[in-house]
């Protein structure tokens, strides 16, 4: 019997351990510090992201996740004003003033830029003595050279090379030299005048260049860092042992308000305050009057406002909702599935959450989603009526109702709201209208969806990337929309990489899930998606749309300043696209965000991924709310104990009966 007793002892011990370790359900790792040097609490912001960054090289990164990490670390020459969004305004950051436009003798345009003095790179072993050196114009020059380096593979090289002098020559030269760029070769488009001044020489007028200077592609790079972080083993370890240095793409060295402190791939990313950061302070104004009480106390304060930011990679929606309800996550968008729990019929926050002090804000992203139709496809390409019919058959609103709770607006035009050239009253002439769609099918030569030659239903294939449950449902929904016309739609499921490959090769009929998020607030950044010289793999014209009139208008409007004439051209281009239906427009991205009472949103400019330096946390309030929101009931433990005791009792009794 002593064996049973010892078994019980082990059981008791392990239960005790469970309680010891299980105290607290805080899922976040411990912060770097508890207090600041001056004794005030160390402020940590807990954030999340749905995927991990693909590269943190400022000249390479292009996806939203990479930008979210990169932009707080790598500061840009210019930046969007955090509060001015109508219209968007760009302000200097690393530059001491806005670039000055100069007309050269030969009629070409140059921009004169001056760097602020006294900006230092973060301390890093790549610099002599480990101390960050001052930022100089040569770092900007080096960054532009890297854009032209085929080995670096800058995704926007084509966009910039078209307008900046000498970039194409540098690139072509390197191409001939087996992709080796000779960095001693001169880039004529960027002239270094003195240590803090440089000039940008353009091939033709391009007002949007200002926006490019607000993106991380043109952010200065220290050559020491690129040379040092080569991904090779070096004798850096203690006692001169070999150790592999990370690649530059995973170890940015820059001048931003934060430093990448820790990166655990697929799991979490930790940013910590850059102790030497002095470049910017919280703006003194520019916000709307209703935000005055919240923002006024921060005016003129040193940035960043928090000391540490922790990004956890959430690949599922469920944990985001769970952790937000428990107060362990500081900001989140309301996912489609959690929407109903947060929102009441009048689109106000549900009382259950409002009473906790949460609030609801709607965000509209500068982006448009659509399904691409392949213009080089022998069935879809030559038959505009068929494309129009497909567009008319798609009940986009129903899809938005099912999958996005009816929040985002149906896209009536390519250009997203809030951008110059967006026409508020414009209706897509081939929006959902089933009767019209059936009529158009007759005109397209497929009455009732049947091919009169064969007498059988027309068959189309739709390429999707369907990995999650929701994507599968969306695919099935889209399939049903088209099948209302009597045609057969076959769904082909692809991995993300395979889908990109098909888009590059034009190897599809209907590609669902395509779209565009604005790089900068200008119609050119949308219309270039359908420019005839912009075919994949170099460009983004996935539909392979080509229209001489459209191309001519595009070339004309691309280099113009905003004006009534430009608006008129945009209007005409819009009409051409609407009539030709190279895509089936779906929606503009919009979503609700639940704001925690302890993490008020200090800025919500969707173009400003680097806005983290303005973010703030009410630490004492968060501590209090976390305690309130996480009660621990004890009755289930009691019930479990009773059950276990019962089982032991039963077995002992049975044993006695056997022994007797």
């Amino acid at each position: 019997m002593d064996l049973i007793a010892s078994f019980q002892r082990v059981l008791g011990l392990s239960l005790g351990l469970v309680f010891l370790a299980g105290c607290g359900n805080d899922p976040n790792p411990r912060p770097l510090r508890q207090t600041r040097p001056d004794g005030s609490p160390w402020l940590v912001r807990y954030s999340g992201m749905p995927d991990e960054p693909r590269s943190l090289d400022p000249q390479v990164a292009y996806d939203q996740m990479s930008r979210r990490i990169l932009e707080p670390v790598v500061e840009t020459l210019l930046e969007y004003h955090p509060f001015k969004t109508d219209p968007y305004e760009v302000v200097p950051v690393l530059l001491s003033e806005m670039p000055r436009r100069e007309l050269q003798a030969d009629g070409s345009v140059s921009y004169l830029c001056k760097l602020k003095p006294g900006i230092f790179f973060v301390d890093d072993p790549c610099f002599p003595g480990g101390k960050g050196r001052e930022l100089v114009a040569a770092d900007v020059y080096y960054a532009f050279q890297r854009i032209c380096d085929p080995k670096v593979g800058c995704p926007v090289f084509g966009n910039l090379a078209e307008y900046i002098k000498g970039m194409s020559q540098l690139y072509e030269g390197a191409k001939k030299n087996g992709d080796q760029l000779d960095y001693s070769q001169k880039l004529s488009g960027l002239e270094v005048i003195d240590s803090h001044t440089f000039k940008l020489h353009l091939l033709k007028p391009y007002p949007q260049i200002i926006y490019w200077l607000a993106m991380h592609f043109t952010a200065p790079v220290a050559r020491e860092a690129v040379d040092y972080y080569d991904g090779q083993p070096h004798p850096d370890g203690p006692g001169g042992r070999e150790r592999v240095r990370p690649k530059f793409a995973w170890h940015p060295v820059a001048t931003g308000p934060f430093v990448l402190h820790e990166y655990r791939p697929g799991h979490l990313i930790r940013l910590a305050r850059n102790e030497r950061y002095q470049t910017t302070v919280f703006p003194e104004g520019g916000w709307t009057p209703d935000r005055e009480p919240l923002l006024r106390p921060f005016a003129g304060k040193n940035l960043p406002l928090v000391d540490e930011v922790l990004f956890t990679v959430f690949r599922e929606e469920l944990p985001i909702v769970l952790l937000s309800r428990q107060g362990y996550l500081d900001g989140m968008g309301v996912g489609k599935d959690a929407f109903n729990s947060f929102v009441t019929p009048s689109l106000k926050l549900d009382q259950k959450y409002a009473s906790r002090g949460m609030s609801l804000e709607k965000d509209v992203d500068l982006g448009t989603f659509y399904m691409s139709l392949n213009m080089q496809d022998p069935v879809l390409g030559p038959n505009p009526k068929l494309r129009q019919a497909l567009s008319c058959a798609h009940d986009t609103q129903a899809g938005i109702d099912i999958f996005r709770n009816g929040v985002p607006p149906v896209a009536q035009q390519l250009i997203a709201p809030g951008i110059f050239g967006f026409q508020p009253g414009f209706r897509n002439p081939y929006g959902f209208n089933l009767e019209k769609a059936r009529q158009l099918m007759v005109e397209a030569g497929y009455p009732g969806g049947r091919d009169p030659k064969t007498g059988r239903p027309l068959e189309l294939t739709m390429d999707v990337t369907a990995t999650g449950a929701q994507e599968r449902q969306v695919a099935e929904f889209n399939q049903r929309q088209f099948q209302q016309l009597g045609i057969q739609v076959k769904i082909v499921e692809n991995t993300f990489a395979r889908m990109l490959e098909k888009e590059d090769q034009g190897n599809f009929q209907i590609a669902s899930g395509t779209g565009w998020g604005a790089d900068y607030p200008d119609p050119e950044n949308f219309f270039f998606l359908f420019y005839g010289k912009n075919f994949p793999p170099e460009g983004k014209n996935i539909s392979r749309y080509r229209n001489a009139e459209f191309d001519r208008l595009f070339e004309q409007m691309a280099t113009m300043e905003n004006s009534p004439e430009r608006l008129e051209i945009v209007r005409r281009m819009n009409a051409i696209l609407a009539e030709d239906c190279p895509v089936i427009l779906e929606m503009n991205k919009a979503f609700y965000v639940v704001v925690q009472p302890f993490a008020p949103r200090t800025q919500n400019n969707t173009l400003l991924e680097g806005g983290l330096k303005y973010a703030w946390i009410d630490h004492p309030l968060r501590e209090q709310k976390r305690r309130d929101w996480n009660p621990v009931p004890l009755w289930p433990l009691g019930a479990g104990a009773v059950l276990m005791i019962g089982a032991v009792f039963y077995s002992v009794r049975w044993n006695r009966r056997l022994d007797v």
Binding site: L318, A338, N340, P345, D401, I402, A469, Q473
Partner: protein
């Protein structure tokens, strides 16, 4: 290849072929004394009979979904689809027996009442669950059509001929078995693409190993028995010995292995769906319904009915298969149980 297997009629033909093989096997087996005795024992086994009945029920539902009725207008309907054609389609989620759709912002009156609610696309959950029976049975059926002959034959050959035949077969299955089965499944599915047919092939490739091992061992034991020596002394050909003496004596093991293995196949389908290499879009399956719960559980009010219905149906089938398999084992080998 996928196109071929995704054709409903090809699948049906394969399943019918599978059924035919099983019926033939049962008739073949029922001639032997051992099978007759097992049947008598099984009939007295209440748990076995009940679980067998439940399995038959699932088979019936699967059959209803398998056969198509051509419609004068539009695509053809399955028998089950025809029987449930009165069930209206809603726009999106609705709770069991609710009168309005599950939306706080825009609740709309439903066209009908749904015993188990509706899913994201407004399909009746009960109907979808029943339709998914066919998917589970088709996967199990086609897979067994691949792995049972392969495993049985190779097992008997290895056990009977021994020496180099045994070595080769052992080498092949040891190699396959040394790759963790879920990884092997995933890599085969990645190579061949998603689909019911390819999934069955992948499952077939990973499933025959266990059966082959079992049969090989049993054949070795049987080969030592005097009746094999006697047959050999009488000058019977190897082929005849294998077919007429060894096969009937290991067949009961095949049947038990099949029933228990079937439950494993159904559970594996659920995991593969979760990993994103499951059934293709538009094919209802319990696995993808359970997979959907990942996001449905972050809703409020909670969408629990899809998960519950799929889990319930899956649980019922797997439990019955397990219990029936146990009952079969007891019936064939009463000493051990």
């Amino acid at each position: 290849m996928n196109a071929l297997f995704d054709n409903l009629w090809v699948q049906n033909a394969l399943v019918l072929a599978g059924v035919a093989v099983w019926v033939a096997l049962l008739i073949h087996g029922s001639r032997s004394e051992r099978w007759r005795r097992a049947w008598l024992r099984l009939r007295k086994d209440r748990v076995g009979m009940i679980s067998g009945g439940v399995i038959a029920l699932y088979l019936g539902v699967g059959a209803l979904e398998s056969f198509q009725i051509p419609q004068p207008t539009g695509p053809s309907l399955s028998v089950l689809g025809w029987m449930t054609r009165g069930v209206p389609r809603e726009k999106s989620y609705s709770a069991p027996l609710a009168r309005t759709s599950l939306s706080v912002v825009k609740p709309e009156p439903l066209k009908g009442r749904h015993l188990l609610g509706t899913d994201a696309l407004g399909n009746d959950t009960l109907v979808q669950t029943l339709r998914a029976c066919r998917t589970a049975l088709a996967i199990g059926g086609i897979t067994s059509l691949i792995y049972i002959p392969l495993g049985t034959l190779l097992g008997i050959l290895a056990g009977y001929y021994r020496r180099w035949v045994d070595d080769v077969i052992q080498y092949v299955y040891s190699t396959l078995a040394s790759i963790p089965s879920i990884l092997l499944l995933v890599s085969i599915l990645m190579a061949l693409g998603k689909g019911l047919g390819t999934m069955s092939i992948a499952l077939g490739v990973t499933s025959w190993v266990g059966l082959c091992r079992l049969i090989r061992g049993e054949t070795m034991r049987q080969s030592e028995r005097p009746y094999v020596a006697a047959a050999r002394a009488l000058g019977q050909s190897h082929w005849k010995i294998v077919l007429h003496h060894l096969l009937p004596n290991v067949l009961h093991l095949v049947v038990i292995n099949f029933v228990l293995g079937f439950s494993g196949l159904v559970l594996t389908e659920a995991i593969l769906s979760y990993l994103g290499v499951g059934t293709p879009v538009g094919t209802p399956s319990w696995g993808s319904m359970i997979d959907g719960a990942r996001s449905e559980f972050s809703r409020e009010p909670l969408v629990w009915w899809n998960l519950t219905a799929a889990t319930g149906a899956l649980f019922g089938l797997v439990l019955s298969l397990n219990l029936f398999g146990d009952a079969l084992r007891r019936a064939f080998d009463p000493k051990k149980a």
